[in-house]
């Protein structure tokens, strides 16, 4: 999928993706010549059609997680389906190369349904590790959600 600025005859560049949480998606593209932006807005059905393929408009922002589609899309998953380590609290020694979580971040993560929690935890931890962020806070989580297009998580 490409967008063309007809006035400039230039291919527009992907700028950002947003998932407002109502099942819709907004993908913003900007013209590198004139700076004009357009947003491609998809309705819930169109968004779901793309999601059901396990692909992302704008490209993947994080590596594909094991069972990513299944864990993201299954509504009837069992609570204890996955055995995954809890996030390391700030009071604990950080595992090598992995960040720790402050209490508020751990509390917010705990509200994520357990069927997908481990996957979401891993995405945030990868995001932090890649940016050499040692402590995951709710601010870090908010930033990751914006930058990675994880509004649904």
């Amino acid at each position: 999928m490409k967008f063309l600025c007809i006035e400039c005859d230039k291919q527009m560049a992907f700028a950002e993706r947003e998932l407002p949480g109502d099942g819709t998606l907004a993908a913003v593209f900007a013209c590198p010549a004139c700076g004009r932006s357009v947003a491609m807005l998809t309705n819930p059905m169109e968004t779901q059609l793309v999601s059901s393929l396990g692909v992302q408009i704008g490209g993947r922002s994080v590596p594909e997680q094991p069972f990513e589609l299944t864990r993201s899309a299954l509504a009837s998953g069992r609570e204890d389906a996955f055995a995954e380590a809890s996030p390391s609290p700030a009071s604990a020694a950080a595992p090598a190369g992995r960040p720790v979580w402050d209490e508020a971040a751990r509390e917010r993560l705990g509200r994520v349904p357990s069927f997908v929690r481990g996957m979401v935890q891993r995405i945030y931890a990868d995001y932090a590790a890649e940016r050499q962020i040692a402590l995951i806070t709710t601010d870090v989580m908010d930033r990751a959600r914006r930058e990675l297009g994880l509004e649904g998580m």
Binding site: D9, Q48, L49, L53, L74
Partner: protein, 309 residues
């Protein structure tokens, strides 16, 4: 004198360039993302010698029992075997092999399959679904029927590509009743070696299973064996055999496909009771000769392919 580019006539004559004329990066690259998914499956299955689907045209013929019995028999004979339960809506393999306990271990890039007592590596939606819960997807609105099939295909793809199957002699795929999911499997697995057809003797089963056979043929997938299940009844008290269904579906399918009859298995309440309790050992005993015949047939055909110039 050149025309003013802002005039309606100039605008009408201006041609918008097409997708392939734009040389800039397509960051979405949806086709590339789908291709990467398929490459992930291919890489995962590169260490699996044979992938074989177990199919029937209808439910209730004991296909899952046959799958669990074949897999367990082969594992007990020392082969490395996986069983992928592709019956996503009616999964039974995990329970039959006694691995329904919680807690799939997730690694960096893969999910560890469960291992049965005999060593069969198992993946099933039964390991993911809440007790007695149907397979249900998060749906933002109506018209879920449009994408449910795609989601199920995606789940099957992840079972193939994200599970740490390791090196296997055989990955058996227990298919749902019917034949439509066989196309999906064939599209995902680079080298689907063939299908084992399970039927019961009745003519109704023959007709339904024949449709699955024709679907496999249409997809160029060989029939590598026929199992006639519930071929009579074995008395639990005296071990005598009696008739259960009229018909000769197994023989007819063998004649028409040229595939070997791997087994004719009587219904045995003891086998059923044990496997319902998560113990496939009796089913494995009943199907051991069939499992060995299947394995040897696959090895012979592999040798023939390798011997070809």
């Amino acid at each position: 004198m050149s025309e003013d580019p802002s005039t309606p006539r100039a605008a009408a004559s201006r041609r918008v360039r097409g997708y392939s004329e734009l040389t800039g990066d397509d960051r979405s690259n949806l086709l590339g993302q789908v291709t990467a998914q398929h490459e992930r499956v291919a890489a995962r299955l590169a260490s699996v010698r044979h992938v074989v689907a177990v199919v029937s045209g209808k439910g209730g013929v004991g296909k899952s029992l046959v799958s669990a019995g074949l897999a367990t028999a082969l594992a007990r004979a020392g082969r490395e075997v996986g069983l992928l339960d592709a019956d996503l809506h009616g999964p039974t393999a995990a329970r039959m092999l006694g691995v329904r306990a919680a807690g799939l271990v997730v690694g960096e890039r893969e999910v560890e399959p469960k291992r049965s007592a005999a060593g069969v590596r198992v993946m099933s939606s039964d390991l993911l679904l809440a007790e007695a819960a149907p397979l249900a997807w998060r749906e933002p609105g109506r018209d879920g029927f449009v994408w449910r099939g795609t989601l199920a295909a995606g789940m099957l793809r992840e079972f193939l590509g994200d599970v740490a199957w390791g090196s296997l002699d055989l990955l058996l795929v227990d298919m749902p009743p019917g034949s439509e999911r066989l196309d999906t499997l064939a599209g995902l697995v680079p080298r689907l070696r063939g299908v084992v057809v399970v039927t019961i003797p009745s003519s109704a089963s023959y007709r339904a299973v024949k449709r699955a056979v024709e679907a496999a043929r249409a997809g160029g997938i060989p029939i590598v064996g026929v199992v006639e299940n519930m071929a009579g009844y074995r008395c639990a008290d005296c071990s005598s055999h009696g008739p259960l269904f009229e018909g000769d579906a197994g023989d007819r399918l063998v004649r028409e496909t040229g595939a070997p009859l791997l087994a004719r298995v009587p219904f045995d309440p003891a086998v059923q009771a044990r496997i319902d309790a998560g113990d496939a050992s009796l089913a494995a005993e009943a199907l051991a000769p069939a499992a060995e015949a299947l394995a040897q047939g696959l090895e012979r055909s592999e040798a023939r392919v390798e011997a070809q110039p």
